[in-house]
Amino acid sequence: MPDNRYENTSRPGQEHFVAPPEDVRVGVVDAVDTSEAPSSLWGDAWRDMRHRPLFWASAALIVLVILMATIPSLFTSTSPTECHLESSLAGPAAGHIFGFDKQGCDIYARAIYGARASVTVGVLSTVFVVVVGTIIGSIAGYFGGWLDTLLSRFTDIFFAVPFVLAAIVIMSLLQNRNALVVAIVLATFGWTSIARITRGAVLGVKNNEFITAAKALGMGRLAILAKHVLPNAAAPIIVYATVALGTFIVAEATLSFLGIGLPTSTVSWGGDLDKAQVSIRVAPEIMIYPATALALTVLSFIMMGDVVRDALDPKARKR
């Protein structure tokens, strides 16, 4: 049953009363100066962000990571797949500033070339879970009632499927193992968390006065959800997504470990972290390079997430 009890009525403890729209001529009450340029949420956010050094710092880092992913040869002329066992675990040498891994591959080149697969996996799966999770979670939270029950229990079913089982089945059905396929597998069973986070956040926002006001103004329900509820519920979604980006990149290592990740010829940070594990007693430092590259990527997205969130929140905006 749609939960619309509070739309037009007051309840105990509530001081104000919102009159049904047909009783009051809203236009008269809320006359606005229409000659003023409309201020859009994102426009405001942009004006705010571009004055912040943190925004430019994180943007620079993201650009750097994207450059590494797209044109790795800008950063190194060494091939990450040219490996000679003679140099196994050898220390830094001329042209190889970080030394070599167990297979005798250049660690620096692998850290650079690993960006493409890892960032693709991380970003694609994050985008996928955010889109699916936000849609399902916000509909469940905002409309409530039977729709909430249906969507929430559907989420439960997906949540109950063990990730390893699902990954083994899907990866063996899909012959072509590339970054896109890995992202789909990670996302298929990753969207449930973000759906719940969104639902919780929407539940918290939807009873705010400004939502009631928007309803009173006769705004459509979907429009309210998109324009008022979601932007105000965005903070936990952004936070969750930025952290999840990192965990997705690491999760690719789990798939590699199970033998269903990216092909061994594809260089990735997750795969290298996994491979470094057998040398952990002898050469723990090998792990530092892919882990640092991963940490920097996550850092850039977390900082960007923080800036965007601040910019979306008018209360936190500096005047």
Partner: protein, 562 residues
């Protein structure tokens, strides 16, 4: 790290095992029982047994280790793999085909009943009878009448067993006959000179009469005749054994009992050994391969084992058929720097292979004519590969794939082998991983219809110390339905095996088996990689720790004071 499936046990053999005959450490060995025994309870790392604790039901190392302590068979193996009588008084034959087996008097089950010849015959008959589903049924295949106990299976279009076309016509093996309480005879289908060697394998252990009363309950709380009896089995956690008071055989327990601790991660058992929570570690984790001898000092054990690794070249791949195909096989073998890989990737815990068996097996020589292909020779390899390509060109986008299950540490060496091919042969090479062992089995069994379109890993560990136990199961036509997964078929090789099996003595048999290997080197159905070592360790609290030919510790002789 994931739990590791040890379907292919990392076997061990003791070629040069030093027999440490020191008494129990410390001077306070207040023993009240027989001389030389200690009273401490020894803890051993193990995995959860995946079958009931019955010899013929167990085919994996976890259960095998426990079963060996619980039961006594006709013979047992010492650390060097030499066969000694345990219950058997004598095992004799004039023609290597009909064997008369007499057993000693005075052996008892833990419920007080006598061990009789019928206990062996009944147990073997039960295990062989197809519908009972015993995992070790195949071990009775050489005995006369085995086919009649199996029936004829039906296959579906994919070649999988789908049902029975004909039910078994006999419930017992016609080749087995009880003569008296202490004697029985075995008739084989053909002469097999190494038959007595096989009898120490757990599938040939006897079972008490009580077994057939409640088969399901028995596996959880068995009545046994070995050095130990089961006290408690807390699944996925611990198995506790105590010495069997009734036991008076050569494997008398020298300690106060055994606690098998179940681990799923070898790094964890290693940490427990270092922390003093564990006495005997069966397997050193890959991450500690290069440091364990330093970490454990006197407690480190590294010996050659009975396990052998190869890459099988499937016969169904056109690029490996004919003249050009053989050249490619040779090239792929010569382009592997076995020395370097065993040193670098395995920290010297594997030994480059020069044949298809294992150096710990009696009869191994390592000097088989034709085994030069196991020597690293990149120039020759490259020219052979190029020659093959000029005769029978490969497509430009050809990628050589190496298929392996990934639930154990195989990725590192596959990558190293591939990098060698990339560097020396200038080809593309990639691993194809399978997350579960049964998926590899399945794809391999499908042959040309499966996903296997390249080389695949083959690991083999002998069940009993005999050259035949490598060559037959891996490359004979008889094993096409079993473990000859590359589908190698050679009449010449089969005839050579048959000749060797019928040889009047073991020495002659071994010479003939090695002759048969020459045929394998000519055809290269597989590319030998390396022999495994047993890499294990023990704490300072225990003494006299030895690992047997099958990589299993000889637990009865371990001493530990309290």
């Amino acid at each position: 790290m994931t739990p590791r499936k040890r379907l292919m046990g990392l076997g061990a053999f003791a070629l040069a095992s030093s027999l440490v005959l020191t008494a129990c450490g410390g001077g306070d060995s207040g023993d009240d029982s027989s001389e030389g025994t200690s009273t401490g309870i020894v803890t051993i790392s193990n995995g959860e047994p995946q079958n009931p604790l019955v010899g013929s039901m167990t085919n994996e190392t976890e259960g095998g280790l426990v079963v060996q302590q619980l039961y006594s068979g006709l013979v047992y193996y010492d650390a060097e793999g030499v066969v000694h009588n345990e219950i058997a008084e004598s095992i004799e034959s004039d023609d290597n085909q009909t064997w008369t087996i007499t057993i000693q008097d005075g052996w008892k089950w833990s419920d007080g009943t006598d061990v009789t010849a019928a206990n062996f015959v009944d147990a073997w008959n039960w295990a062989a009878y197809g519908p009972n589903g015993a995992k070790g049924a195949g071990f009775f295949d050489p005995i006369e009448g085995f086919t009649e106990t199996q029936g004829v299976p039906e296959f579906d279009e994919e070649g999988n067993v789908s049902g029975m076309a004909e039910e078994p016509t006999a419930e017992t093996l016609s080749g087995l006959e009880v003569v008296s309480d202490t004697e029985f005879t075995v008739t084989l289908n053909q002469p097999e000179s190494d038959f007595p060697i096989r009898l120490g394998y757990s599938a040939y252990f006897p079972l008490p009469d009580a077994y057939y009363d409640d088969i399901e309950a028995f596996g959880e709380k068995p009545i046994t005749n070995g050095p130990y009896v089961l006290e408690d089995w807390q699944h996925d956690s611990e198995i506790n054994l105590v010495p069997n008071e009734e036991y008076n055989g050569p494997r008398k327990a020298q300690n106060g009992g055994l606690d098998f601790i179940v681990y799923t991660d070898e790094n964890t058992s290693y940490a427990d050994l270092q922390g003093g929570n564990l006495d005997i570690l069966e397997n050193v984790p890959t991450s500690a391969m290069s440091t364990f001898e330093e970490d454990l000092g006197d407690g480190a054990i590294s010996e050659p084992s009975a396990s052998f690794a190869a890459m099988t070249v499937p016969e169904w791949l056109p690029e490996f058929q004919g003249e050009a195909g053989l050249k490619r096989r040779q090239a792929l073998s010569m382009a592997i720097n076995r020395e370097q890989i065993t040193e670098t990737i395995f920290a010297g815990t594997r030994i480059p292979a020069t044949d298809f068996t294992s150096p710990v097996i009696d009869g191994w020589t390592g000097e088989i004519p034709g085994n030069e292909v196991t020597e690293y020779n990149p120039e020759e390899a490259k020219s052979l590969w190029d020659e093959a390509n000029s005769e029978d060109p490969l497509p430009d986008d050809y990628v050589l794939t190496i298929h392996t299950n990934t639930d154990s540490d195989h990725q590192a060496w596959v990558e190293a082998v591939c990098n060698g091919y990339i560097n020396d042969l200038d080809i593309k090479c990639e691993m194809t991983g399978y997350p579960t062992f049964d998926e590899v089995l399945n794809e391999r069994d499908k042959g040309p219809d499966g996903k296997v379109n390249g080389l695949f890993r083959a690991g083999w560990s002998a069940d009993y110390p005999s050259l035949q136990n490598y060559l037959g199961p891996l490359y004979s036509k008889a094993a096409l339905a079993g473990s000859n997964d590359g589908r190698y078929e050679s009449d010449e090789f089969d005839a050579a095996l048959k000749e060797a099996a019928a040889a009047p003595s073991l020495e002659e048999a071994n010479t003939l088996y090695n002759k048969a290997q020459e045929i394998l080197f000519k055809d290269l159905p597989g590319i030998p990689l390396w022999y495994y070592s047993t890499t294990a360790g023990h704490s300072e609290a225990v003494d006299n720790v030895e690992f047997g030919w099958d990589s299993m510790p000889l637990l009865y002789e371990v001493t530990k004071s309290e």
